[in-house]
């Protein structure tokens, strides 16, 4: 359980690229696809989730010794739901328009796998300061990925960037806006291509330098993703597996895993 001592800057920066929650760990896919119809929505969603991540990581890391192991998942979810309610009320009061366009996805931050996964994988095992920095890094990484998705979809689909029209991309310019990009299928397309690019980039980065410090959990997680297996299943690699083990699901899970392997061959 004792975590290795790592610098705070490492904890912060890992969330940006190497362990980017959206593009590398594939957590929180639902809001990523749903709210990125414009850059503004993407940033808004990212910042709201960052706030919740910071708060929940702080509280859970403070409570990590007093939460009994058996009921930790419900306890984490309750803490997270509290922070989500705060964000919801703040946004209703000060950013009603953004709140309207994000709609149901604000309360759904509660079940966003990124937050639960950080609580389970990091905050419940580490001291307060690293947990907060980890939350901040992951939040910024999430926001950056949403910003990227939102920008691509808004520029191609609407011919605007942050609501400023780009003449070359308006109707009659070089290329007409492709409405499909801001419709649901566009979300799947852009996300798929971005993940492919992220895989390609990190492959090259890995070749260039071996960072030396490796988080076994994350390696497991990334490995599972590369097989496109059930890791996308809301952090099945961390939260899910442990959860199932504690509930005595081990045999069935192994069966299911074997089923999947058999399916592949």
């Amino acid at each position: 359980m004792a975590p290795k001592k790592r610098s705070l800057s490492y904890e912060f920066s890992k969330g940006l690229v190497r362990e980017n929650p959206v593009l590398r760990l594939l957590l929180g896919t639902c809001p990523t696809l749903a709210v990125t119809t414009s850059t503004k929505n993407g940033i808004g969603m990212g910042l709201a989730a960052t706030f919740v991540l910071l708060g929940s990581n702080l509280i859970i890391s403070l409570l990590r010794k007093s939460i009994p192991d058996k009921v930790r998942i419900p306890a984490f979810i309750t803490v997270i739901a509290g922070f989500v309610s705060i964000v919801q009320m703040l946004m209703q009061a000060y950013l009603p328009e953004l709140n309207k366009s994000l709609g149901i996805f604000i309360p759904l931050i509660t079940v966003n796998c990124i937050i639960l996964a950080r609580a389970e994988m990091f905050a419940s095992k580490n001291a307060v300061l690293p947990s907060v920095v980890d939350g901040l890094g992951m939040g910024v990484g999430f926001t950056a990925a949403l910003f990227l998705m939102g920008a691509i979809r808004e520029i191609l689909g609407n011919g605007t960037f942050l609501d400023i029209p780009l003449p070359a991309l308006q109707a009659g310019g070089w290329i007409d806006p492709m409405i499909i990009m801001i419709l649901p299928p566009g979300g799947f397309f852009v996300f798929g291509i971005l993940i492919a690019l992220a895989n390609k980039l990190s492959e090259q980065l890995d070749k260039k330098k071996d960072t030396g410090v490796k988080d076994p959990l994350v390696d497991e997680c990334v490995g599972a993703i590369n097989e496109a297996s059930a890791c996308a299943l809301c952090g099945a690699c961390s939260v899910g597996t442990k959860f199932r083990e504690t509930h005595g699901f081990k045999d069935e899970t192994d069966d299911a895993a074997q089923d999947q392997k058999g399916d592949k061959s």
Partner: protein
């Protein structure tokens, strides 16, 4: 009755939870590898969605609204869903072990499935009556099942296709999900035509 059917079918086809509302993407990508697991997961989701809607509606309308506690909605709903899942799990384990073996592994994962919390919140946002909420939940669950079933078929084909190395796995899966989502645009005008 007509109204209920409209709610049911638009939740299945037009506003499909997975392909147009983007709820429950994680299980959609995670368990769509073969048809059998896809069906197991969908059955579990349908059951939990209907029961969760039936439980959260009275709580919202008889406890939270009259007492002006609307801001507690998120927290209360997630606690209800989490305990509901736990109760269903215990019940199945004790009384219907055969069903438990096939659905059991999916149940804990449903707590963090945003489609379930999503359906209960949408019931409130759309101000549905109790019966309408149930119909909406059933439609959402069936829509989830339809999307998962169709997509697991597509996926078995895609897995055997020859795609560029960096597109292998999830990227190509997502792009094909986009294509399946386009096919659902075909249902857009269906509901008005069918029930007018």
């Amino acid at each position: 009755m007509k109204e209920l059917l409209i709610i049911l079918f638009s939740a299945i086809l037009v506003d499909n939870f997975v392909l147009s509302r983007f709820l429950g993407i994680c299980p959609f990508l995670g368990v769509s590898k073969n048809v059998k697991t896809a069906m197991g997961m969908s059955m579990a989701v349908i059951v939990v969605m209907v029961f969760a809607s039936a439980l959260t509606w009275p709580v919202q309308n008889f406890i939270l609204y009259p007492r002006n506690l609307g801001y507690l909605q998120t927290g209360v709903f997630i606690v209800i869903i989490a305990s509901l899942v736990q109760i269903i799990e215990t019940f199945l384990k004790k009384s219907i072990p055969a069903l438990y073996r096939s659905l059991g592994i999916f149940l804990p994962l449903i707590t963090t499935n945003c489609a379930v919390l999503g359906v209960t919140i949408l019931n409130v946002d759309n101000q549905y009556t109790f019966v309408q909420s149930i119909s909406h939940a059933a439609g959402a669950g069936l829509g989830f099942m339809l999307a998962l079933f169709l997509f697991s078929g597509v996926r078995t084909k895609v897995d055997r296709a020859d795609v560029p190395k960096f597109m292998k796995g999830l990227p190509i899966t997502l792009v094909s999900a986009g294509l399946v989502s386009i096919s659902f645009f075909g249902f857009k005008g269906l509901i008005e035509k069918l029930f007018s």
